[in-house]
């Protein structure tokens, strides 16, 4: 598994799509310390300051229904990983958000490129509010971070490796 790290990037999904189009191999992971234009579905912005864990994975050739399945499974994988590592009780808001105590701390966005009727590439992007100390006023009541919930700094690299490993294992079962 190759991990390409950036200090800052417009969006890890955009970079992953660009790299995949140009032949970068599946299971390459693009991770950035912050995103300038992090986004969710329909262009909704995703607050992506330094401290969070933002990454995208180029998925192997699959079909669109597998892509949908892995999106849903990724939410469950994030929830399970955070529960195991930090003894928190995350809840999944189907299909792609993960909450702690009713507040969102993780969003997942899969993007597919279909040429004609063939799925050419898929990338799955995951944004996790890990070491975020505080949120802007408009997000304070609806967002949280692992650090806020545990009162301690967490290791983003360790969380990333555990999640990627689980996604890879899950993908083999599709």
């Amino acid at each position: 598994m190759k991990i390409i790290e950036f200090e800052t990037i417009s969006s890890t999904n955009e970079k992953a799509k660009e790299l995949a189009i140009n032949g970068t191999l599946p299971w390459t992971v693009i991770v950035s310390e912050k995103q300038e234009i992090g986004h969710g579905t329909k262009g909704a912005s995703w607050f992506s300051p330094k401290g969070g864990l933002y990454f995208s994975v180029i998925l192997p050739q699959n079909n669109i229904h597998d892509s949908q399945t892995i999106t849903i499974l990724a939410a469950s994988i994030v929830a399970k990983t955070i529960k195991e590592m930090f003894n928190l009780e995350p809840m999944i808001k189907m299909p792609n958000d993960v909450l702690i105590n009713g507040k969102k701390f993780c969003g997942i966005l899969t993007e597919n490129i279909i040429i004609g009727d063939k799925l050419k590439l898929s990338v799955i992007g995951v944004g996790i509010d890990t070491n975020i100390d505080e949120f802007p006023e408009e997000l304070k009541n609806i967002a949280t971070s692992v650090k806020i919930e545990t009162n301690k700094e967490v290791n983003n690299k360790l969380i990333l490796n555990k999640i990627i490993e689980k996604i890879k294992n899950q993908f083999k079962t599709l």
Partner: protein, 124 residues
Amino acid sequence: MELKINIKGKEYIVNVEENGNEVKVIVNGKKHVFNSSTGIEDISFSHSPSNNNHSKEIKASIAGIVSDISVKQGENIKAHQKLLTLSAMKMENEIYSETNGKIKKVLVKVNDKVKEGDILIILE
């Protein structure tokens, strides 16, 4: 099956389609048809469907909501140009044209719900 082959710096995109005894090998849009029962003597050449005048329908690969339309009726488009985006279960599916062509009709609007197999755009 699509292959990218680089020979002395020149890139060839090769698609292979098999249908019974007939094997189509499309190299950079030019189609070569082989018959596996008679062998290489039965080679015929023809242009890719991308260059013909038949209408082509762009269908929804999955049920979802049209979240963005990037083209309009009458517009000339190029192969690999983005046509529209379909949001499905929080997945964004960007649909690109396979061929050069012209938009004959856009059958959907932003926020329309579509089922798998619904026709979204007709190309000419």
